[in-house]
Symmetry: C2
Subunit: 329 residues, 2 copies
């Protein structure tokens, strides 16, 4: 059966009614959703586009995975600020000839993530579109002034990542090579889990001075931390936790792992594992060199702010190649 | 010059930095924006998709108008709840071969509206896409419990609209007929102004029992009020304020006027003009008939909830044809 906008809106309303968060006074059914966050909290807002043939391919990604990834990406941004997600809003553009089943499976994947994290689907928009287009907006909260920003890293801080890196890019590399990869539920490419619990523990224990989620790739995302904090960084190749099936290059530059990258002050006691997720120390934050700090503040200046100690003990600059570069290969 | 993602993000960051709202602690530059709404306010959230060849055509709509309409649509939803807009988030998918100038003009149009209403562009996402795709999310606020909903209309309430109706559809009809229409700044099709001031006055004076913005068309949007309030409605054809160039059918069923439709209790003293905008009383809210109220609560039941007194004094049912129907003609 082909897509009917009426069926689609009906499905969305039914699914939305089954998702609840007490911060949402009114969800779908009015011109706006009405939210009442608790007093003493700041609000966090993030949006992420998922576009067919840019962020996923119908031939590679089952609809359930596309729906899962769509919301998980937004939740990962909330995790990166150490927030608690409250509600999501979905703008969905779908080709008129899309099978209803695809839309149903997409929504099932998205709503499974929503239920898992008590996120209410509180609104959105529906339209026809040439390619499947899903824009997810997530609203979350963090105690006033306690959200962990990209800008808090200080020279002397140590650098940590959660989990293993490169898993998602490794799957993508296999698919680009023509391999048919079975979308396992445990795959961080097909079904990434946002690290909300780890982030919450880091905030509650005051362990992290800055944080970002690894969506573009370690080299690019660490450069973002350096840029916003106006610092430099040094990491060790031998300390990078490389995912099974990946290699160092994928772990450094492959994106979409949705792990967390954070910095902690020298005295912070960071556990080796939080909420059953491995935590690896991979380097340290340094002062910006005289030369670097004199440059203007554009992103470009931070392309030489990161160095990596390779396995031969040589210190090399680490260019933020990242995901976009990798993707075009 | 063709589009460069780097230029685009640079432009957006510069423009965003020039838009400020004190509720936004952190805008673009982190994983999430951080908002701190004032105590004693509820938060309002709305999203609206604008997709090329669905919501606009490049041949008909200058980029500046597309940008203006994109944000004005979201602000109109905030107005419909009688809220004050705070921040917007823009997810933008653009074809790689789009001229940079188009993107610049689009952003100029959008940011002119943002500045006019002190809305901060606080975040978003950028991607390539086959067709121009802009999803705007607007966050606003209303005093706790004071947002005007669709669900507050009571039998005996009177029905009002702001401005004149059918102007936008009249322009569209001319363009569909092959006419080239000059996009005048005063045109509600090309440059609709959200009725935020009118809505704010209505809330402050406690005049409106329910409200919605006229995006789909009077017949459809009044049916939404009836559906959410579980009431019926009767309007008079002779009282509909028809815009210059439009006719009764366009005023009843044409969408995208972004005027307000509201109901007021019998005793409310509704002025003939608010904030220099004409206010017209067009009918009254009725009790649902025995037959109607026994049906289940799906939208379909409300398709016969509205009747119109025509110019010959005959009472006819008014089917919610609305915009989608009109558009397909």
């Amino acid at each position: 059966m082909l897509l009917s906008e009426k069926n689609l809106i009906g499905s969305i309303r039914r699914l939305a009614a089954a998702s609840r968060n007490q911060a949402v006074l009114r969800g779908i059914g009015d011109d706006c959703a009405v939210l009442r966050p608790k007093a003493g909290f700041d609000l966090l807002v993030t949006t992420d586009l998922s576009i067919e043939d840019v962020h996923f391919r119908r031939a590679w990604h089952p609809a359930r995975s596309v729906g899962h990834r769509c919301l998980a990406r937004g939740l990962s941004d909330i995790a990166a600020m150490s927030g608690e997600p409250l509600a999501c809003f979905l703008s969905l553009g779908l080709p008129p000839d899309l099978p209803q089943k695809w839309a149903d499976q997409f929504l099932a994947g998205l709503m499974a993530v929503a239920r898992r994290w008590s996120v209410e689907l509180a609104g959105g928009d529906v339209s026809s579109a040439a390619k499947i287009t899903a824009d997810i907006m997530v609203v979350g909260q963090a105690p006033t002034g306690k959200a962990i920003l990209r800008s808090g890293a200080k020279p002397g801080d140590r650098i940590f990542v959660t989990g293993q890196l490169g898993a998602s890019a490794a799957v993508l590399r296999r698919m680009f090579a023509g391999e048919r990869v079975r979308p396992s539920r445990s795959s961080r490419h097909f079904f990434p889990e946002p690290r909300l619990e780890v982030a919450s523990v880091l905030r509650q224990r005051g362990l992290a001075s800055s944080m970002i989620d690894l969506s573009d790739g370690l080299s690019v995302d660490l450069a973002h931390i350096c840029e916003e904090s106006r610092v430099a960084a040094r990491i060790s190749a031998s300390k990078i936790p490389i995912a099974s099936g990946a290699d160092l290059q994928l772990a450094l530059h492959g994106g979409e792992d949705y792990e967390l990258l954070f910095t902690a002050p020298p005295q912070a006691r960071v556990p080796k594992q939080i909420a059953e997720v491995q935590i690896s120390e991979i380097g340290a934050i340094l002062r910006l060199s005289e030369r670097e700090s004199k440059k203007s503040h554009s992103r470009k200046d931070y392309s030489s702010a990161i160095e990596i100690l390779d396995k031969n003990g040589l210190l090399e600059p680490l260019a933020p190649l990242g995901w976009q570069h990798f993707r075009k290969k």
